[in-house]
């Protein structure tokens, strides 16, 4: 509790007045056991004078018993609460800490970095505005850094502070800081986070946490606390879409009938016309009661009691919205789910789902994929184990007024409850209103619509002109084959060779496509074809730009490969088959894909439980068992020479 100076200047009454007006900021700290997270929080509390003398004395006593800092008070012990974890020396649950400065009140959710405690991180992150991601300067960006960042972004946190800690142990090196910053930025480009801020610090030495310190004169930015005091988070709230889930009907007597609840988003005013979902009945707002009496308007975050002008039927679970801005009512939702329970989530299972003030029975109708939180890769999976994250489709017994979580954190979130044990087994974030099937349908419709669109010829730069400018004859190589047959290696090897010889070419493999253009797709039949269709369209456009494409996709079905050839529609489309028998591919399985499939953890792996149709129309067949990668690359180059596509 800093601010004695302000207290002296203002006097207690003015101080109380100002103090009561401060904003609140909720933040989450994540890092591994050894990154110094508890020490960082301890330092924030200690240096902002939120720690009282008797607590400090007790911590000193505990330091002597459990501490790891020699004679100094182990600040981490201010934070680590439970006996068990004190003894283990790790944080095992979400702990909340509070401190305040003259500008803001802070609620710190301290969450563990250990892999099995994903659930606690999700719990902590769900209400936070900002995440502090700790990185040990000695180790740089680790897989767990990816995991924490992905979870925070998934839970909708818009502001990140990347705290590069233990700078004292790398000689306060600016180069080290810059290298970590660059590595993190490259990774974070794949996340949807608005604001990322980097601060080099040493929590044990107290540098750049609350005070600036003198060891890193090269760093011009603010210490952590300054940033936390000033970062603008009010703009994160949704004040556009009125959503008011009714919690409770307040009816003290026959004359008063009010609807109590918290405004989830948007603004509501007396006199506004409103609609009540799911019934769709309309009325006008007659009054808005708040803890401080009646007001003319209420906004997101306020707990209010509405009365309406008409006596219409409204009860708990209904949602009051603006008639011209209503969320769609749907029984089917698509969501990312974080799984908490020992028993895995499987398609076909039934749960209770709580969304806003609605509780309904829900069935998992599809588990589309699992996300590897370390690499962000999508994997086909038959189940989600504890602490895993995946995309599911759910069918609900009653329709939900559901928004996408990205647009509305309150009405886009839900929890899943075990029907028998009553445990909270999962947390969900609604991805989009439309199911993938609807999206596929829409795509089909728009593809048909495409046949009505005439290409304008006026003023168009011809592909020939572009080819001439680039000085090359572009082509499309479509490389097919089993997983691990060597397609990607060949594609990237060829891309490099072409680049080295002044050609313009792009290698497109599954990983690249699924990270961006095709991030909305799963691994099922329709989605797998859509993945290929988009790759083919992209290759066709590249051709028009005068650029070659080397597409490396399993593309297991003959008719799909033919369709790709039709889409590209050029004589310079060539199909290359990387031929390797299943046993060899399986032996090369360093990512454990086949092994996981053999264990039954994932399904739909081509060659095992999904078919691969050997191409009989390949333009070039490569034996990736008998011949080396270099020899096969040379064969492709020779092939291209023969076709007159290389100079």
């Amino acid at each position: 509790m800093s601010g004695h100076r302000q207290l002296d200047e203002l006097g207690i009454d003015a101080y109380l007045q100002r103090y009561g007006q401060r904003e609140m900021l909720r933040l989450l700290t994540c890092g591994s056991v050894d990154d110094g997270k508890s020490t960082l929080i301890g330092r924030l509390l200690h240096d902002s004078q939120a720690v009282s003398d008797d607590v400090l004395a007790a911590t000193r006593q505990a330091s002597e018993r459990f501490g790891t800092t020699g004679d100094d008070v182990d600040l981490a012990l201010l934070v680590d609460g439970l006996q068990a974890e004190r003894e283990q020396g790790i944080t095992i649950d979400v702990a909340y800490r509070y401190f305040a400065t003259d500008r803001r009140k802070f609620v710190v959710a301290d969450t563990p970095g250990h892999v099995q405690y994903t659930r606690n991180m999700a719990t902590g992150a769900s209400n936070c505005d900002l995440a502090v991601i700790l990185i040990d300067a000695r180790h740089g960006v680790l897989e767990q850094t990816h995991r924490h960042s992905f979870l925070c972004s998934l839970l909708g946190i818009q502001h990140f502070v990347v705290a590069i800690n233990k700078m004292d142990l790398v000689g306060w090196s600016e180069d080290r800081f810059e290298a970590i910053r660059a590595a993190y930025s490259q990774f974070a480009a794949r996340l949807q986070v608005r604001d990322i801020h980097f601060i080099p610090m040493s929590a044990t030495k107290g540098e750049n946490v609350v005070h600036r310190g003198a060891s890193m004169p090269w760093f011009q930015g603010s210490p952590l606390l300054d940033h936390l005091e000033t970062v603008h988070v009010a703009g994160d709230r949704n004040l556009v879409d009125l959503r008011f889930p009714v919690q409770l009907v307040v009816r003290p007597d026959a004359d008063f009938r009010g609807y109590a609840g918290t405004v989830a988003s948007g603004v509501v005013r007396v006199g506004d016309r409103i609609a009540v979902l799911p019934a769709g009945t309309q009325s006008r707002v007659a009054s808005i009661g708040t803890p401080d009496g009646d007001v003319p308007e209420a906004f997101a975050g306020m707990a209010v009691t509405l009365t309406l002008q008409d006596a219409i039927d409204v009860s708990r679970g209904d949602m009051v919205v603006a008639p011209n801005n209503a969320p769609p009512l749907t029984n089917t939702i698509e969501a990312m789910v974080v799984w908490f329970a020992d028993a895995p989530l499987r398609a076909g299972a039934n749960y209770l789902l709580k969304h806003t003030t609605v509780q309904t029975a829900a069935k998992v109708t599809d588990l589309r994929y699992r996300v590897d939180v370390g690499t962000l890769h999508r994997q086909s999976a038959p189940a989600l184990a504890m602490n895993e994250i995946g995309r599911v489709r759910l069918e609900c017994a009653r329709p939900l007024a559901a928004d996408a979580y990205g647009k509305n954190r309150q009405t886009g979130a839900f929890i899943l409850i075990d029907r028998i044990g009553n445990a909270t087994v999962g947390a969900g974030m609604i991805v989009e209103r439309k199911t993938v099937d609807e999206a596929a349908h829409r795509r089909g419709a728009s593809a048909d619509a495409g046949s009505n669109v005439r290409r304008a010829t006026r003023g168009r730069i011809t592909p020939a002109a572009r080819r001439q400018r680039l000085g090359q004859e572009p082509f499309v190589l479509w490389i097919t084959g089993l997983p691990r047959a060597g397609k990607s290696s060949l594609a990237h090897g060829l891309e490099q060779w072409l680049f080295d010889h002044d050609y313009h070419a792009l290698a497109l493999d599954g990983e690249l496509l699924r990270l961006g253009l095709n991030r909305d797709l799963g691994f099922g039949g329709a989605d797998r074809w859509e993945n290929q269709r988009r790759a083919a369209e992209l290759a066709r456009m590249n051709l028009d730009f005068g650029i070659s494409s080397i597409v490396a996709l399993v593309s297991p079905l003959a008719f799909e490969r033919r369709r790709a050839r039709e889409i590209v529609g050029s004589p310079h489309f060539f199909q290359v088959w990387c031929n390797a028998p299943l046993e060899v591919c399986e032996a090369r399985d360093e990512h454990g894909l086949f092994a996981a499939a053999r264990r039954g953890e994932i399904q739909g792996v081509t060659g095992l439980d999904a078919p691969y149709e050997r191409p009989d129309d390949a333009d070039l067949v490569l034996d990736t068992v008998a011949d080396s990668a270099a020899a096969n690359l040379q064969k492709v180059i020779d092939f291209l020479h023969q076709r007159g596509l290389l100079r």
């Binding site: 601010g3 004695h4 309150q410």
Partner: protein, 302 residues
Amino acid sequence: MSNYALSHLQQLEQESIHVMREVQAEFARPVMLYSIGKDSGVMLRLAQKAFAPARIPFKVLHIDTTWKFREMIAFRDRIVRELDLDFEAWTNPDGVRDGINPFDHGTQRYTHVMKTEALKQALDRGQYDAAFGGARRDEEKSRAKERVFSFRDRFHQWDPKHQRPELWNLFNCRVAKGESIRVFPLSNWTELDVWLYIHREQLPVVPLYFAKERPVVRRNGAWIMVDDDRLPLLPGEQPQRRMVRFRTLGCYPLTGAVESTADTVPKIVEEMLRSRDSERQGRVIDNDELGSMEDKKREGYF
């Protein structure tokens, strides 16, 4: 409320009200534990606001150890009358029969019988499936980890390692018969927030919070008030009159006073801002041993 922004105090208030309404809507038999202290007072005010213009819709329960300060009981009776509460006080009859007191039986046994056991009896008798408590996470380290909705098994026990994940403001209110949830609507409030709110709302509090000359004895480094003639004086102890006040209120033999001249809420806040001691310092039971609160909570203590 310009710029559609809430102050931190308003935000805490709205969130607590949301929690109370959720409990009232989802549970069959909620009850509010009332300890007479300042946090309980804030909780009652929030409950009034949450259900206005209706009256507080659930029962308010006080666990009476028979060792509360007399001023506390007088204040309690006044509040019950003024707010027209559906009120009940409960004392463990076994403890009364056995004459359990903090002097002959030690603080641990006394607390166990007259507080923990008494609370469990009262909850079982009322078949309550949800019980509000005024505990805050900033009070003590083990509280910092507790959920807002804290699950208790049919023996009222807390399992800190298997707490239900708690996300957004979506609270899991499902319990089987005999199980219950302890609900802490003030979880995110700090001691300072509580006083700021009392100041803003002009809430009445027990006069013991304000400094006054009171008869006290010095015991184990704390000022213990001689509230009635049940306090056995140790050899050499002579009650003396001192300007003291209480930062926290419990059973008078277990609650130490601090020397102070703060006799208004603003003066209390000012004293707190300038002081470097935490509020539970005056409580004898917490300091017994490392982790003592965690052990008590596992057994069913609030």
